[in-house]
Symmetry: C2
Amino acid sequence: MPAQTIQGSLRQRGVRLTRQRQILLELIDKSGQHLDAEMLYQMAKEQDPKLNRVTVYRTLKMLKQGGLVDELDLMHYGGDQHFYETRMKQEHAHVICLRCGKVEEFFGEPLQRLRRQIETHFGFHILLARTEVGGYCANCQIVREREVEQARVAEAASETPVRRSRSRAQ
Amino acid sequence: MPAQTIQGSLRQRGVRLTRQRQILLELIDKSGQHLDAEMLYQMAKEQDPKLNRVTVYRTLKMLKQGGLVDELDLMHYGGDQHFYETRMKQEHAHVICLRCGKVEEFFGEPLQRLRRQIETHFGFHILLARTEVGGYCANCQIVREREVEQARVAEAASETPVRRSRSRAQ
DNA sequence: GTTAGTGCAAACCTTTTGCAGCTCT
DNA sequence: AGAGCTGCAAAAGGTTTGCACTAAC
């Protein structure tokens, strides 16, 4: 059974709680956001300007291997880096808006059902699971329709007798 | 509505079907595996030794943006590269054994249910979804138990009067 | 003939490694 | 005191970009 806190769990297994690690753990625990290594590094540096980026990576790796944090990609919105969050929460899916970048978390029973079905179907022993969903959030759907409409109007206004080349697939 | 084949879809939107692309599309379509850029490159090079790695990346990017292939991480088993598969199949989860690397695909109704629930819950418009599950497959669970048992036996055999340091969390 | 696509070299971003020195316990 | 950890520099792995040339339509 997992300990109440990351700190506690680390202490239990004899991992040293150095000043650097305390800073990083505090940030991961309290920020409530999905931080990537660089963001974490920037934030940590404010508390300890000498703290090195490498230490951030090493700490994250240790936490990941110890099953204390989950590594996310968030559909690679904005780069190929990874994002991290504690595993102290219930399992959830991440829902990422590909236009505004907002990330929502979905808790709900289909996730547990999926997990159970995979375990029984394959006789698989699940250690980690990740569901990420990309698309447009409610707000951005509206904004997007407006943009498309405006583009249509602009297109019509600039129409010339000469057939214009088809707009490229973005 | 999606076209029957990737080729058809590309032709429709006026994308040029160059020799290089034909080779790559053929490989993605027919291989039935989850290929990463490097594997794809190596295979393509056998058919056209001059084909460049960069072309592979550019083609994959185009297919991804056009919604014709899905990009997977497969829990980063064996590196941080991405894997690709056509979207010509029904949605499915990927189940990766973290010991032997085998990848299974899970089709099943909980995935659709999850998707529907997220769409209605958030008013979200889903474009892509990815579920990846890591753990031990049926076979590796057995092998693993055996390994642990052997380690226990070896441990007992080498036991000394002096208390041995706790084995580190790998 | 145009314009999209390719190859090549070089850059880029994220993450890892080797090693000497520092610091928790 | 000593193993575990850190910082620094440098490398590695994966992917992207700039540019001149080539080929598909």
